[in-house]
Symmetry: C2
Subunit: 210 residues, 2 copies
């Protein structure tokens, strides 16, 4: 039981941080195994080896806990790949997303988090923040491409990065379509082709409409 923490083993952040860590990992496990529906605070407390009242007092509801998990995930950072070309960088990004979404643990976890966000405004805000941070981490590759002359000035770097992920999430959540490396590579190619053509220039509308 983490509730009976021994003073000698206290890690940075102390008992409160250790309880949070244990409960968030237990919440991840539960979301991965059974999805958002049927998630139960008492079950998560049991998995975490933490007293039920601690969990109820701190997080209150399942959505409160899922929101905190998203805030914790937002703080984790993964370094961005730099290849020297926009296509190389965005292909690395697309393959990272594709590997995450097809991972037997991460895939179901992200599905469950997205499902949870559809039903609760605070969870949705935490989900948006999580993705916003990920997008900000990769946006410099588009700005560097603009500096290199690979894409026009005024290109909306955030929208380009989001565009790489969009078809992968669409296959995961909507179409059930294939989510392999070729799908990832095509997602990057589509975004790069459109970025080069100036479609992501802010206030755009580069193509003539009939």
């Amino acid at each position: 039981m983490l509730d009976g923490g021994e003073p000698g083993t206290v890690r940075p952040g102390g008992r409160t941080a250790r309880v949070r860590e244990a409960v968030l990992r237990a919440a991840e496990d539960a979301l991965t195994e059974q999805g958002f529906t049927g998630l139960d605070l008492a079950d998560i407390a049991r998995r975490a080896g933490v007293g039920k009242t601690t969990v109820y007092r701190r997080w209150g509801t399942v959505t409160g806990l899922v929101t905190d998990l998203l805030e914790d995930m937002a703080e984790q950072s993964a370094p961005r790949t730099e290849t020297g070309s926009l296509l190389g960088d965005l292909t690395a990004n697309a393959r990272l997303v594709q590997r995450t979404l097809t991972d037997p643990r991460q895939g179901p976890l992200f599905k469950a988090l997205i499902a949870a966000a559809t039903g609760d405004a605070k969870t949705a805000a935490a989900l948006h923040r999580f993705y916003d941070i990920r997008v900000r981490e990769w946006a410099p590759c588009v700005r560097q491409a603009v500096d290199r002359g690979e894409a026009p000035e005024g290109t909306d770097a955030h929208e380009v990065v989001r565009a790489v992920s969009a078809p992968l999430y669409y296959h995961l959540l909507i179409s059930g379509g294939r989510l392999d490396e070729a799908t990832a590579d095509r997602a990057a190619e589509v975004a790069v082709t459109a970025a080069r053509a100036g479609v992501y220039v802010r206030g755009g509308g580069k193509l003539r409409r009939v």
Copy 2:
């Protein structure tokens, strides 16, 4: 109570069809108002004015009912717009999707259906079928564009149509980004630019990778 159907008012399909219609519309109402979580067969039976045992006997579970709703929605058909150009056609498609997802009733309904599909394989299969039918309805606009020489032979028409929707669903479910007409128009422009460049040619990979 629909359960007490009067013989004189029987519409085509009879009482069974009328009960199904009432229950599916009640399920839509419940999903729209409260999302997938907390959906309750007894509440839906009450909304529909149908006996609880009828609903339990016929649909068994909430996911069974949601799956049937998706199968019913798949049978509805909306005519495709034909403008004479790929950009015109796909812009019409993107705006239709954008209007649907921002509609105060349809938006929450689709979110709830997608959330339901994350947790149940049969519901997911019904969701994929629903979208597959919608994609098939619009794919001819890409094949016509190939015939007109707007996009190369071998262009994967289904993937082009899915690509138009993907950023709109990404904003709805993942990023919380703006879902206005400009977003829709850009989604169509991206897909058209990439299609013209041959990125959607099957077995593709048109751009040189570093």
